[in-house]
């Protein structure tokens, strides 16, 4: 902190990059992941070791397990971040996962041919089609009927699980199809296919929204729908697209999830995953009020959730203490992310310390006007909203954490 400013008027690019990274809300998500991994290393120094399975050349290790188990939540977190950016929310993703799982398993079971790639692709296509249709229905209710996103997707959350049960007639359908199973269990270049697929989809989504005007338009809707309409953006079509995308990604997550064990569990597949997704998005620094969003941040949040789940198991935290352990980690993280809490600490340090120099600088930090690299890239309106968003995200985050705690306690 003190090194660059007195020495050089133009700090080196690495320092600028680091400083930008630290200012990103999802920086604390990365810190939390590293901290959890360190905790595991303390328990077992070989935790991070990745070995090669001599039988098939696949990589084996705890990190690989985390990658694989993070795939479904990565998918829904990306979809959720887009929806939340428009000022909406999609509570139906967990149920859509169950629907996609049910559709694909039922199809595979009746198709019978357990080696055919064609059958696997048909199952995939069918499941994605149904998921997109559910998403489209959500989008229609939100964009054209004008219902509250919370209510319309809540309806789909209830109806979707019902639909999944109807599809399998209440059974947990199991099927066998090698190509389909490969999606979740196969390896390419030693890495799990499911993680690579998820990564490709996350990067693709990130590029599409950031390299085109799409991301900007989505943010515009979230910040001020009327102004965005006046500016020539068509919110209805965009909203519909965003909900369809969220449905599709939830469908992919559902396929990832059921393909792992080739069984759909209609009551449990994707159960309460919508909360995980919202949490991932919030950890990633997207405000629940809409507006500025970060696909990369949501991905970090998703990875954190997967790491947390696996850490609890690895450390051997007892089942009854698990919800409390998770809640503490998330509350601490949200507190660290909150600018207000951080400013309490810095101001206390500033008033206590005799040298005012460091104190004044950190007090001037929160508005990003100081960082030259930051202000140049973003349009003015953007920068203002970013300050808003970060402040708003923290209370939302804390609320969610207690939600999670409540849900776990109830379970």
């Amino acid at each position: 902190m003190s090194a660059p400013s007195p020495a050089a008027p133009a700090p080196s690019p690495v320092v600028v990059w680091l400083r930008d990274l630290i200012r990103k809300p999802f920086f604390w998500g990365i810190v939390a992941i590293v901290a959890l991994l360190l905790l595991n290393v303390v328990k077992d120094p070989a935790y991070l070791a990745i070995t090669v399975n001599p039988a098939n050349g696949n990589l084996v290790g705890n990190l690989i397990d985390i990658m694989r188990s993070s795939a479904p939540v990565l998918m829904i977190a990306v979809g959720m971040s887009l929806v939340i950016a428009t000022g909406g929310i999609d509570l139906s993703v967990g149920s859509v996962m169950a629907v996609a799982g049910a559709v694909s398993m039922e199809f595979l079971k009746y198709a019978g041919d357990s080696a055919s790639i064609g059958v696997a692709f048909s199952a995939l296509g069918l499941a994605l089609l149904v998921s997109a249709a559910v998403g489209a229905f959500n989008g229609f209710l939100v964009a054209y009927v004008g219902l509250q996103p919370f209510i319309s997707t809540l309806v789909m959350m209830l109806a979707g699980r019902g639909l999944a049960k109807v599809i399998t007639s209440g059974q947990n359908t199991a099927a066998s199809n090698e190509p389909f199973r490969w999606i979740a269990n196969g390896y390419v270049l030693g890495l799990p296919v499911v993680f690579l697929l998820a990564l490709v989809l996350v990067i693709a989504a990130g590029l599409v929204v950031r390299r085109s005007a799409l991301g900007l338009m989505i943010e515009a809707i979230g910040i001020n729908p009327r102004a965005s309409r006046m500016a020539g953006i068509q919110p209805k079509g965009l909203l519909l697209t965003v909900y369809i995308l969220s449905g599709l990604l939830a469908g992919v997550a559902g396929i990832f999830s059921v393909a792992t064990v080739m069984t759909v569990d209609v009551t449990r597949t994707g159960s309460q995953m919508e909360l995980d997704a919202i949490l991932a998005v919030v950890i990633g620094g997207t405000s629940l009020a809409g507006g500025k969003f970060s696909v990369g941040g949501a991905a970090i949040g998703a990875l954190l959730i997967a790491t947390l789940d696996k850490t609890v198991l690895f450390l051997g935290v007892s089942s009854s203490a698990t919800p409390a352990f998770k809640a503490i980690v998330i509350v601490v993280l949200c507190l660290l992310q909150s600018q207000r809490v951080r400013s309490w600490f810095t101001s206390r340090r500033a008033s206590g310390g005799p040298g005012g120099g460091a104190g004044t600088r950190s007090a001037g930090d929160p508005p990003p006007s100081g960082g030259g690299g930051d202000g140049g890239a973003d349009p003015g309106a953007h920068t203002v909203s970013s300050g808003d968003g970060a402040a708003a995200s923290s209370p939302g985050g804390a609320g969610l954490a207690s939600d999670v705690e409540a849900k776990e306690v109830a379970a």
């Binding site: 009927v145 219902l147 059974q171 947990n172 999830s257 792992t260 064990v261 449990r268 597949t269 089942s319």
Partner: protein
Amino acid sequence: MTHLNWTRRAIGLVAAGAMALALTACSGGGGDTTDDASDGTADTGGLTTIGFVAVGPEGAWRAANETNIQDTFTEEAGYDLKFAPATNLDQKSQIDSFTSFVDEGVDLILLSATEASGWEDSLKRAQEAEIPVILLDRGIEPDDTSLYVTRIAPDNVMVAEAVGEWAVSQFPDGANYIILEGPAGVGVVNERNEGWDAAVEGSSLVKVAAQTANWSTDEGRSVTETLLKANNNNIQLIFAQNDEMGIGAAQAVKEAGLTPGTDVKIATIDGTKAALEALVAGDLSFVHEYNPLFGDMALDAVEKTLAGESVEPYIIVPSESFSDVATTEAALPDRKY
């Protein structure tokens, strides 16, 4: 502009109304129970009305159990069975259905509770209304036998004890084991732990970990995968408290490069068809049935209760165990669930 807004609002209202209707329909299950609430049994044409507060879709075992009960209490047998499954295994929805059965004055209530605790008030209400209650499968806590007529269930403690005894006999020289449990706090989980602990106490088996996998294959696999790594694959025995988790565990064992049956033996409870098939395939080593087909025993108890005869407070449904491939294969074709 205003005109447009009004039309939109009208459309919104209509849609909201439709949605509300759809929602009430969804909450169904118990929906049809309110139909003849006013005149009780009078219009059922001499049929005995029975309210069945059920668990609903949970897995193959539950489906077999509830279908069996529904097939037993048919109109031909002289019963009008009102089936009310829980919404997403939620206890509150069960209490609601239970209360509405009491209010409409059914002749008897069958209850499979999703959660063991919190039933005292509802059961007292039924008692005041002089409606006998018979517990199917799941017990209640605290177990106050004055609040219900009888509980008909395979005995979880006994079944888990049998699994424990098998485990002790398989590993006379000791072994490291892990337990995959259902959700913490559920009665079944406590009972299955109790039976297992009683059987393995004093043996040289070492419990390395016990984690919940929420009855699901997916989590059974994910939990086992991590527990194996946390213990450097030094696990010889896995006790999965239901079949689904055990099948998931077998997948994780194979994924870790171990062979189920030789490196790691997996024992499960329930005895679904899928589990017996897995046993024949060598994935599972021991499956103890938890017999869901006790419709005839329930019918017998219901008849005695309604006739005013005394019934044992706890009726144990006999269950068998499978460990041998040949006998399991022979039993497979008759498996109903």
